[in-house]
């Protein structure tokens, strides 16, 4: 019952979000602002996490691959596959769900409780469209770039750690990165990223938009935003993986 209530209200909100914008130029300005707010500000944390995770994956793999049958370039291969398929698109998006999700929900939530959303409505503006559409658009536009950077830095981190710990040579690692590359896997990864970008921004906006009460409820909304975005990322990760791999 509760689930259907939320689902119904979510889809009604999404329908309002995608109705015709009042003024394109104002929306464009908002999108640029949100790209900065959502995307650029997340870059440092993504860079740090990706670099170290890539490094750790390589070290762990080197530790595990003790059998002489496994060639050393498998290290580069393993790091690339883990980063490309799962770590960057899914785990980094989960981390972003925490950062971006709570940011969006608390921003929109506090606009709700201080009547700023009502003020927009009174001016004759579609508040859902004005507030949410730029966030969704910015998320879908910028997340693929962030994730591409994460992939690159992850593999680079693996390379650095691999060399530094003496697990393999530069030549072997780079050979591994290039080995058995299948381009469709990038389609898979970036389809995931775009789906997750939409989920994070729209779900967090939803919880922010329907905040009732005071500051306490804004906190609850942003928690709910993170929790539900994360759960839906996991569910859609599963669905998309099934679709692409079967």
């Amino acid at each position: 019952m509760n689930l259907f209530f939320h689902l119904g209200r979510y889809f009604i909100l999404i329908k309002r979000v995608f109705s015709k914008p009042e003024k394109l130029s104002v929306y464009m300005r908002q999108i640029i602002h949100e790209i900065d707010n959502i995307g650029i500000s997340s870059l440092p944390i993504i860079a740090i996490i990706s670099f170290f995770m890539g490094g750790v994956i390589t070290i762990q793999a080197a530790f595990g691959f003790t059998s002489p049958i496994i060639p050393l370039y498998a290290l580069g291969f393993t790091t690339r596959e883990s980063m490309l398929l799962e770590f960057s698109p899914t785990i980094v998006c989960l981390i972003l769900a925490g950062k971006i999700g709570s940011n969006i929900a608390s921003e929109i939530g506090s606009m709700r409780i201080t009547e700023q959303i009502d003020a927009l409505e009174i001016m004759g503006i579609n508040s859902a469209g004005y507030l949410i559409l730029p966030k969704i658009a910015a998320g879908i536009l910028i997340l693929p770039f962030l994730i591409a950077i994460s992939m690159f830095l992850g593999i680079f981190g693996g390379y650095v750690m691999g060399i530094a710990t003496g697990a393999c040579s530069s030549y072997e690692f780079i050979f591994g990165i290039q080995a058995f590359f299948e381009p469709w896997k990038l389609w898979y990864s970036f389809s995931k990223v775009i789906t997750f970008a939409f989920l994070i921004t729209s779900i967090s906006s939803y919880f922010g938009y329907y905040t009732h009460g005071g500051a306490l409820e804004v906190g609850k909304s942003s928690t709910a935003a993170v929790v539900y975005s994360s759960i839906l990322i996991l569910i859609f990760n599963f669905i998309l993986t099934q679709l692409f791999f079967t």
Partner: protein, 253 residues
């Protein structure tokens, strides 16, 4: 002119507005007065559609607002300026951007024209040169005034003000009252002002609706209110010793 006919509203079990009717006239400052919690803000929010009425009609120059579709409602709302009780300025924008916002959205003005209009509005509420401040950097009274500037920016046809002078000193308060009144007369606006302030009531109360516990209790103007014998209204108006003295002066004239 906005006419409300027999409007009622309950929040759950709590009947907040009970069968209120009134005509808010064009070119006049229409006041809604009443105790805290009597339902003044609720009436205003019902009128602009932020809450839905349970029953009754709200006619904007004959147009039944609650029955309109989303798009038609938006068209009416573009003619509304509203000052919220809490200000409701956009935190992430400077005063200039706040006031300019309705102009950005709905007009084809050039940058210079917009800036001119912004400065005009800021001057009217005595916030000249405060363009670049953020709402967080303003005092309570300044926020109120800035919000009023935003409400009048796009030359509304209907102006709603929820306690425009709460939090203001008596002198600024009078400036704001006079501003609202002169705009109303000059541009023939239908203005609705909620207030607690008896000073304002006497100054600008051309038509007054007194709400008591969600009910339409008394109507009249600023002259009549001082002569009222309605016991609840007498309690409200003459709650302070100062007003009692004013009353005696008026009576002995």
């Amino acid at each position: 002119m906005i006419e409300i006919k027999n409007i009622s509203k309950s929040f759950g079990e709590n009947k907040v507005i009970d069968d209120v009717s009134f005509v808010f006239e064009q070119g006049k400052t229409n006041l809604i007065i009443g105790e805290s919690g009597s339902g003044k803000t609720t009436i205003m929010k019902l009128m602009v559609g932020l809450h839905e009425i349970d029953s009754g009609e709200i006619l904007y120059d004959g147009l039944n607002f609650p029955a309109l579709g989303v798009k038609e409602k938006q068209e009416v709302r573009k003619k509304i300026g509203m000052l919220f009780q809490g200000g409701a300025l956009f935190d992430s924008q400077t005063l200039e951007e706040n006031i300019q916002f309705p102009l950005d959205m709905f007009t084809t003005m050039s940058k210079e024209e917009k800036l001119e209009r912004v400065n005009f509005c800021l001057e009217k509420v005595q916030l000249t040169n405060k363009n670049k401040l953020y709402p967080g950097e303003l005092s309570g009274g300044m926020k109120k005034r800035a919000a009023l500037a935003r409400a009048i920016a796009n030359s509304p046809q209907y102006l709603f003000c929820d306690e425009p002078n709460s939090g203001l000193d008596p002198k600024t308060s009078i400036v704001i009252d006079n501003l609202i009144q002169s705009l109303t007369h000059e541009f023939n606006i239908t203005t609705i002002v909620i207030t607690h302030d008896m000073n304002s009531v006497v100054e600008i109360g051309q038509k007054i609706l007194y709400i008591y516990k969600g009910k339409h209790w008394w109507t009249g103007n600023s002259q009549e209110i001082l002569k009222t014998t309605n016991p609840e209204l007498v309690d409200f108006v003459f709650a302070s010793g100062f007003m009692k003295e004013v009353f005696n002066v008026v009576k002995n004239k």
